[in-house]
Subunit: 142 residues, 2 copies
């Protein structure tokens, strides 16, 4: 089968055939099922993707810890998955979730708590929706 045919199957077919990168990962975007806000961008390996599908909870693969990770296992801030979608070439996953509390390890609802502003070519950030729902020093202490 040619590469083009294979791509066509993956893009137009209904077979679930995630395309993992060289590290065995796909990119996952989690959005708030209620508001549409992007909560986080993270990675899933095959096991994380399968567990997310099978359990209806958000599972990821931590590149820094090199470990499978159930979202909220330390913090209690779990994700109930409402819908899972694959993108055209099946190397990205979009999950719509009901997020308990904060998705971000900094204690914010979303990891995207800063907007980019450009003042005459001078680019900086400003806080947006940056309220901390928990204190990371308390939640993640050993």
């Amino acid at each position: 089968m040619s590469a083009a045919t294979h791509d066509h199957d993956r893009e137009e077919g209904l077979a679930f055939q995630p395309k993992f990168d060289a590290a065995g990962l796909v990119t996952c975007v989690a959005t708030d099922a209620a508001t549409g806000d992007v909560l986080m961008v993270a990675h899933m390996n095959d096991a994380a993707l399968r567990k997310t599908i099978a359990t209806g909870e958000g599972w990821y693969f931590s590149r820094s810890r090199n470990a499978l990770w159930r979202k909220g296992e330390s913090s209690g801030q779990t994700q109930r998955v409402v819908e899972i979608r694959m993108d055209c070439d099946q190397d990205a996953v979009w999950i719509k979730v009901e997020q308990i509390g904060a998705a971000c390890h900094t204690g914010r609802r979303s990891c995207f708590y800063r907007a980019v502003k450009d003042e005459g070519g001078n680019v900086s950030l400003s806080f947006v929706d940056a309220e901390q729902l928990f204190d990371p020093a308390q939640v993640y202490r050993k």
Copy 2:
């Protein structure tokens, strides 16, 4: 400066300091500013990110073509950027856009036109919002 201090600055500061990966890229999620739907997940290098900020249009870096790419330059399906946000560790970008027509090269509004379904452990896809707004064979022909 320790790695921890540097991470803290990047996460809690207001300096724009995108964290590019080994290939010089950050992940970008584009959502529909009106509906919150995820339209696409793609990559930006420094030039694409700077051009997106400076012009208010979506620019990306194509890994397959190894080239900077203005969204819609072939198809006319451009993106006007409404807001740009950086995530906690500044290796992912969320842009809210007004998408002209279809974001996906397959002609669909969004790249995420298939949902994952699990029937007793048998995982497959089903089309959702998969109407084609243009014919790729016509739009991308040489």
